[in-house]
């Protein structure tokens, strides 16, 4: 009885604490319970592959040779930096990205400025101009490959009929003309993306700003330079960054048109990784290459973003 009498006052706060905990759990844990399926899916879909690739990059794993996987630490990463094919592929990737994104951006900007004007049939013109964006990379590759074909291509036929050349131009055997060929094909497909994004930004600009600029006596170029450009800057930065990242990782169009040739000149990093992993069967080394590629892209994105921020500081 003594114990019971003494326990009553002690149990009351314990009971209250338990209730508070239960209430807290109900309020805090329940939302987590609802979020849990998505969180698990994200963990499975994003984090697991990332961690797996990191781990695989430290292994010598070549299933096609029937050998068990072996832990090699950082040896694969050391091999990456000593591999001349990696450096060649990196240079090819930079050429591919710069040569693709710059003309695409300029074309897309021009298209957006035209589409932002009011004229008859604007809706149809918009649809036609934006259509290539809907075509897949493989199909784009096929279309342009046949147009540029060095033996039976339409472009050569037109050039010969126009008297510009005496014999068909073998576009795909010279490094420079091969790059030109794939840049044209990629510009055809990628420019509408810039046009869509920049057009959306252009349409959000208040017309009163242009009226004010006109009253101040601004020329068309000054309106573009001091009103339009600053207001679409964010759209330009995001779209060029996204397109650069996509282009860097992009394999289908380039693969369809050049297969990495001539003599390996257009073998970009993703093409090289594809060959290392699926044709040579060196999964560990391929994973190390992928990790390096990922780090390079993150560094590039951060630097680009930071440079843009710095350029906007007063």
């Amino acid at each position: 009885m003594m114990r019971t009498a003494a326990a009553v006052p002690a149990d009351v706060p314990a009971l209250a604490r338990r209730r508070r905990w239960r209430s807290l759990l109900q309020r805090e844990a329940f939302p987590w319970l609802l979020v849990a399926p998505v969180a698990i899916l994200v963990a499975i879909g994003v984090l697991f592959p990332l961690v797996y690739v990191l781990l695989l990059g430290s292994e010598d794993y070549s299933p096609y040779l029937g050998k068990p996987s072996q832990w090699v630490g950082l040896a694969n990463y050391a091999r990456v930096f000593a591999d001349p094919s990696f450096w060649n592929a990196l240079v090819a990737s930079v050429i591919w990205v710069v040569g693709s994104v710059v003309p695409q951006f300029l074309l897309g900007l021009g298209m957006a400025l035209v589409l932002n004007e009011t004229f008859r049939g604007r809706g149809i013109v918009r649809t036609i101009i934006l259509a290539p964006w809907a075509v897949s990379g493989v199909v784009t590759g096929f279309i342009w490959l046949w147009l540029f074909d060095g033996t039976i291509g339409v472009i050569n036929d037109l050039l010969m009929k126009a008297g510009a050349v005496d014999a068909p131009v073998p576009w795909g055997i010279f490094t420079e003309t091969t790059w030109a060929m794939v840049f044209v094909a990629n510009a055809w497909r990628g420019a509408p993306f810039f046009a869509i994004v920049i057009l959306a930004a252009l349409q959000s600009i208040d017309p009163a700003l242009y009226e004010a600029a006109s009253i101040d006596g601004a020329t068309r170029w000054q309106k573009f330079r001091f009103v339009t450009l600053p207001l679409i800057n964010n759209a330009i930065v995001i779209s060029t960054l996204l397109r650069a990242l996509w282009t860097f990782n992009f394999i289908d169009l380039l693969w369809m048109m050049t297969r990495g040739g001539p003599a390996g000149a257009t073998t970009t990093l993703p093409i090289y990784i594809f060959d290392v992993v699926y044709q040579k069967g060196e999964f560990g080394y391929g994973a190390a290459l992928s990790v390096v590629l990922c780090v390079l892209l993150i560094t590039f994105s951060a630097a680009y973003w930071q440079l843009n921020r710095m350029s906007r500081l007063p």
Binding site: S23, Q26, R27, F30, L34, S62, P63, Y64, L65, G66, W146, D149, G150, T151, I152, A167, P168, P170, W171, G172, I173, T178, T258, R259, G260, G261, P262, A263, G264, T267, F274, D275, V277, Y278, Q279, K280, G281
Partner: protein
């Protein structure tokens, strides 16, 4: 407020529990059902899916106890797709298999050893020896059963031959050069031959000139008794130099062919711009459709001073080592390899059946099939190319194409080319152990 929250929570949890229970019951019912054994058959080639689907339907109708579902795998993505499927335990029960990928999939332990079934059924005596040699390329054990066998033959345009005053296809490399020169008329954008430099079986073309000049190694492989690749020999270099000269000096090939693909070669031939091309047996249908059945001629590749050697290949059927229905898969494979079924499928595809008794079919008596059949009968002339080495797919698709492009475009000499190729093949062999 608290009551409402609790009640709402109960409803949500109740719904989740009911959904989970219903799904579990649904799964249980599926497991409880009994019915025919279902097997999946993966078809990883660009052509021929329709014929396989017809055979699968016929088989499923005949054997009610086994139902076959054909899954078409896009050929351009086949290695990544199958590799991912095998490693994830999701690969089809059985599948079509190219000789180019067979070794690496066998070494990875993904394909069932079919040697005992092949012997017990007597299939090893029914299938052409060349195809059985491919099937047994790893450890001398059959890991696939061939359904198609293809020599790498010479195809020519009879009309262009007649226009150039050439009556018969060339028999040796010197005749080949002369015929190619006669057929070439650059002003008309017409060429004697396509010096294939791009991706897609270019290795078989220039290597034919090399082995026909310098010969093959032990057991018709490209290695000598010490295990060194023979392709760096002086006679092999001479053969390669002659092939390269067709492009660089003789200019009997379109300039674009240095990086042109097999598809580009086909397009140009079908546009009547090429007198001769080299390619696989199944090419017959495509080329006959392009320039006309009567206009297409076939011949054996030209002989060289060291003899006449032919490259050949073939696809087969394989069983997933992890399949739970291996017996059903084998039954389906046996059905597809019945002479009438094997002949039926190959007739649609235009290729040579791997089952020899199917060779008596009437359609194979057409003149265009005689050269490929004769090549396959000459077993001692067939080159055992190193597809039995894992990594050969990368060598052929990527490495060899890059090297021959460098050579054709004058960035390395035939001698340098031969050495770098021989070194790469030696490295492949050493890696394979």
């Amino acid at each position: 407020m608290a009551n409402a929250f609790r009640s709402h929570r109960r409803r949500v949890l109740g719904t989740l529990a009911a959904t989970a229970a219903l799904s579990w019951m649904g799964t249980s019912r599926v497991h409880a059902q009994s019915g025919p054994t279902k097997i999946t058959f993966g078809w990883p080639f660009a052509n021929g899916a329709q014929g396989i689907e017809e055979l699968a339907k016929l088989f499923s109708e005949e054997r009610k106890a086994i139902q076959v579902e054909v899954q078409v795998i896009p050929q351009a993505q086949v290695i990544p797709r199958l590799t991912t499927a095998f490693t994830g335990g999701q690969a089809p029960d059985c599948m079509g298999m190219s000789d180019a990928w067979l070794a690496q999939f066998v070494k990875a332990g993904w394909l069932d050893n079919l040697e005992s079934q092949v012997r017990a059924s007597g299939l090893d005596n029914q299938i052409v020896p060349a195809s059985m040699a491919i099937a047994r390329m790893v450890n001398n054990q059959a890991h696939y059963v061939g359904f198609i066998v293809e020599p790498y033959a010479l195809y020519y345009n009879k009309r262009l031959f007649a226009d150039a005053g050439v009556s018969v296809p060339p028999r040796d490399v010197d005749e080949f050069r002369n015929v190619a020169l006669k057929l070439t008329d650059r002003a008309k954008n017409r060429f004697g031959y396509y010096v294939l430099g791009g991706s897609g079986w270019q290795f078989q073309q220039w290597a034919t000139w090399m082995v026909n000049h310098g010969g093959v190694g032990v057991n018709n492989t490209l290695y000598d008794a010490q295990g060194n690749c023979v392709l760096a020999g002086p006679k092999h270099v001479e053969g390669l130099a002659k092939w390269v000269a067709l492009y660089q000096q003789d200019k009997v090939s379109p300039p674009a062919s240095a990086t042109g693909t097999f598809q580009d070669q086909t397009n140009a031939f079908n546009a009547n711009q090429l007198g001769m091309v080299m390619g696989w047996g199944a090419y017959l249908t495509t080329l006959a459709a392009g320039i006309g059945e009567d206009n297409l001629g076939t011949a054996m590749p030209p002989a060289g001073p060291a003899g006449q050697f032919f490259f050949y290949g073939g696809n087969g059927f394989a069983i997933n080592a992890a399949s739970k229905h291996k017996d059903a898969c084998w039954e389906f494979i046996r059905f597809m390899l019945k002479p009438e079924h094997n002949a039926r499928w190959n007739q649609q595809y235009g290729a040579i059946p791997a089952v020899q008794s199917a060779w008596s079919a009437d359609w194979l008596k057409a003149p265009k099939y005689q050269a490929p059949l004769e090549m396959l009968r000459r077993t001692p002339s067939l080159v055992n190319n190193p597809r039995y080495l894992p990594g050969y797919a990368s060598f052929q698709i990527q490495f060899a194409a890059e090297q021959i492009q460098k050579t054709l475009l004058g960035r390395q000499t035939p001698q340098e080319h031969a050495k770098v190729v021989a070194d790469a093949l030696n490295e492949l062999r050493i890696k394979a152990g």
